[in-house]
């Protein structure tokens, strides 16, 4: 075991355990910075939801629960696949790992596709600020603010999903070359990132789509 392990231990580390725990801690700290990054936008949402609660509730009802709900399921399921991929990597099952990673990425792409159709629908319904935005009723400006925040939050989330898909595809490529037979840590920390992206959506869905439901 030790002889195999030393082959993949970077020179600054004493052993593979130290390298693994360092990588994991590094990713957790990075995720903490991500929480703070999204936190600024969540704060903006909270402040204006508190200030313009009624308009935000009305505006929220214009978002499509079906798109949002299906996407929640898609992303949660992709997280399950990712968790299974990490398990496969740990057990050294190369073929299964590649297949699970590809499936995870596929569900990520499915999420983005559904999101794209939803954005198109938003556009057709004149819900995109600056692009012929229309609002029947008072407080049109505040409703526009809601949709700005909606696009900022979901847009930032979509960027993270895209990065995640790219990372997972790279992992799949490396996995098929047998890169993770001795060191599965890249799969595990990418998994952490993917779960984080998933959890952000778990917060976005109720805040944006369900805010108007009684």
């Amino acid at each position: 075991m030790n002889a195999i392990a030393t082959a993949v231990v970077a020179e600054q580390f004493d052993d593979i355990e130290q390298q693994h725990s360092a990588a994991k801690l590094g990713m957790w700290i990075f995720l903490a910075t991500e929480v703070m990054f999204f936190g600024g936008l969540f704060l903006a949402y909270t402040v204006y939801r508190f200030t313009y609660g009624h308009v935000f509730a009305l505006a929220s009802r214009h978002l499509d629960d079906v798109f949002g709900g299906v996407n929640t399921a898609v992303l949660l399921f992709s997280s399950l696949l990712m968790a299974l991929a990490v398990r496969a990597a740990e057990l050294g099952r190369r073929k299964q790992l590649v297949r699970l990673l590809l499936a995870t990425a596929l569900f990520g792409v499915l999420f983005m596709t559904i999101k794209a159709f939803e954005y198109r629908k938003d556009f057709v319904e004149h819900l995109v600020p600056r692009f012929d935005f229309r609002w029947d009723g008072p407080d049109a400006a505040n409703a526009e603010l809601f949709f700005w925040i909606y696009f900022a939050l979901t847009g930032l989330h979509a960027i993270h999903v895209t990065v995640g898909i790219a990372l997972i595809l790279v992992l799949a490529l490396l996995a098929s070359a047998g890169k993770f037979s001795q060191n599965f840590m890249p799969v595990e920390i990418t998994g952490l990132y993917w779960h984080f992206v998933d959890i952000v959506w778990v917060f976005l869905f109720p805040l944006l789509y369900l805010a108007g439901h009684r």
Partner: protein, 554 residues
């Protein structure tokens, strides 16, 4: 490895004069530097990079001081003046002060202090330097194409709506620099958690490590908030996203909250590493263990935590709730407690120490005095009623320059002199070092003390012209700035000179106890011949024994 309380023991001790086989000789040529993953070389890359930004920002400051020699705005227009103080602020804060001690001295000595071969993620470390260079390029691009006139704070709605300058590219530069900071922070936290040598328990860590650990926590938790804030400001400027726009019901004050939620902790990003350096210097040059080690270490953590809950004291006159103002005022006072603990403990360390006044010690003593003035005037501006009077005046400018320049830059210079023999293997000339330290101290006080008076008398910041009655104090300040400039140029010259001509330092010219001194100067590629084993606390100095030694030599 005898039974005497020897500070730290390493498996191999170097006794040779100049370690020939070291990190500087282990690879030659530009490529070996640009592709290096050695934390020591990356520290030196950062040193050169921040030097460039320091010089540009210093030129901007010099132009401002020349403009302020006369009451009339006769050298530059008000618009140019706005761009000068913006470039001075942006470059000094994000491209000099924030990276200074962490990326140069931190990168160089953290792994050595904890007995590691390198940081946890060496390639990320190099990547963070490239990000920093890219960020600097964006900032310089904005500067060359006409500059930015918003001030370093980018307050909305001016920055989003009215400013007619290169706001977005400058914000992008700061965004990327923030990314670089975050990577450095992650690297340091993981390194300190996971890479410590056997026996190096948390309460055996040098205080410099405690300070940089606290700094790194702020870096990773505060910087992303600045990133999202500047991103939102930029998209509002580009497309009209209305989060800070009153037309859509947005609130420009929210920008100030988000900005200061980062930028107040950022003040502690700038000063905490300085405090860490001072703890090392004071103990070494008074040959005494730090008084109240645990208190000094924990006060760094306390400052980091408190730093996150005081941002509202920048907004006393922004129309925020008066109750919020009172709470922020009270919380700001609390920061004085851990800061005071540090100052008192340094002073107590000096007491009955065997003090020698070498250059690093001169900087350290200067730091204690200047930081104390900066800290106490901080209490003045944290007081609600007083702040209404001095807000946006030169009083505030003087206050934070006492912390940033009198504190952080003094500490950086002290640390650079202290570790210079470790970094280069050669000593700087002591006479010139002492002279420069004293010139810096005098020049600094002459520059910034008059600004307290100016501010108290009511001179507002950020104006290029002023009523004639303020001229005398302004001339004093400008004269001081020229002396300060000499104080900074001297080290630049003799440091370069010492690279070839300086006396060979040997592994431990200060007879210091830290692990970094238990290896060659310059250190070998992987810092130590074997992994050191730590058996005691970091500052096993003995002033009594030292005094006897002095007597015996006399």
């Amino acid at each position: 490895m005898n039974a005497t309380p020897n500070a730290t023991t390493t498996i191999v001790r170097h006794s040779g004069a100049y370690a020939l086989d070291n990190y500087l000789t282990s690879g030659q040529g530009v490529k070996s530097w640009l592709l290096t993953t050695d934390h020591k070389r990356i520290g030196i890359l950062y040193l050169w990079t921040i030097l460039v930004f320091f010089l540009i920002a210093a030129v901007a400051a010099a132009l401002m001081r020349i403009e302020l020699l006369t009451p009339a705005g006769d050298l530059v227009t008000s618009e140019t003046y706005n761009k000068l103080f913006t470039i001075h602020g942006v470059l000094m804060v994000w491209f000099f002060l924030i990276p200074s001690i962490p990326t140069v001295l931190g990168n160089f000595v953290i792994p050595m202090m904890i007995g590691a071969r390198d940081v946890a993620f060496p390639r990320l470390n190099l990547f963070s330097w490239y990000l920093f260079v890219a960020a600097g390029a964006l900032a310089l691009w904005s500067l060359i194409h006409g500059g930015v006139d918003t001030g370093w704070t980018f307050y909305t709605p001016y920055s989003t709506t009215y400013a007619n300058s290169h706001v977005i590219s400058m914000a992008a530069g700061i965004f990327v620099a923030g990314f670089s900071s975050i990577i450095t922070g992650i690297n340091f936290i993981v390194t300190i958690h996971k890479m410590r040598a056997p026996g190096l328990r948390w309460f055996r860590l040098p205080l410099f490590i405690w300070a940089l650990y606290a700094t790194s926590l702020i870096l990773v938790l505060a910087t992303p908030v600045l990133a999202i804030t500047l991103a939102l400001m930029s998209v509002e400027r580009l497309w009209g996203v209305g989060i800070f726009d009153p037309k859509l019901g947005g609130d420009p004050i929210l920008f100030q909250h988000l900005f200061w939620f980062y930028s107040h902790p950022a003040v502690y990003i700038m000063i905490l590493p300085g405090m860490g350096v001072i703890s090392e210097l004071i103990t070494c040059f008074s040959r005494k263990r730090v008084f109240g080690y645990a208190w000094v270490g924990c006060s760094s953590m306390a400052i980091a935590v408190l730093g996150f809950v005081v941002w509202g004291h920048h907004m006393f006159v922004s129309s925020q709730s008066i109750y919020a103002g009172m709470i922020f005022s009270l919380l700001s006072f609390l920061v004085a407690v851990p800061s005071g603990i540090k100052v008192f403990n340094w002073t107590a360390t000096l007491y009955k120490g065997s003090i020698t006044f070498q250059t690093p010690m001169l900087y350290a003593l200067g730091f204690i005095g200047l930081f104390t003035i900066g800290g106490l005037t901080g209490l003045c501006v944290a007081t609600l009623a007083v702040d209404v009077h001095v807000h946006d005046t030169y009083f505030v400018i003087a206050h934070f320059h006492y912390i940033m320049v009198g504190g952080m830059v003094m500490a950086f210079m002290g640390g650079l002199h202290y570790w210079w023999p470790k970094i280069t293997g050669r000593l700087y000339p002591e006479f010139w070092g002492k002279l420069a330290a004293m010139i810096t101290f005098i020049g600094f006080n002459l520059t910034f003390f008059p600004q307290f008076l100016l501010g108290y008398l009511g001179m507002p910041r950020r104006y290029h012209a002023y009523p004639p009655e303020f001229q005398m104090l302004n001339v004093l300040s400008s004269a001081g700035a020229s002396i300060l400039g000499v104080g900074y140029m001297l080290p630049l010259i003799y440091f370069l000179w010492s690279l070839k001509r300086g006396r060979v330092a040997g592994p431990n010219p200060w007879r210091a106890t830290g692990l970094e001194w238990q290896t060659g100067s310059p250190p070998p590629l992987h810092n130590f011949e074997g992994t050191p084993i730590v058996t005691a606390s970091p500052y096993m100095y003995d002033a009594e024994a030292d005094r006897e030694l002095h007597m015996a030599n006399a």
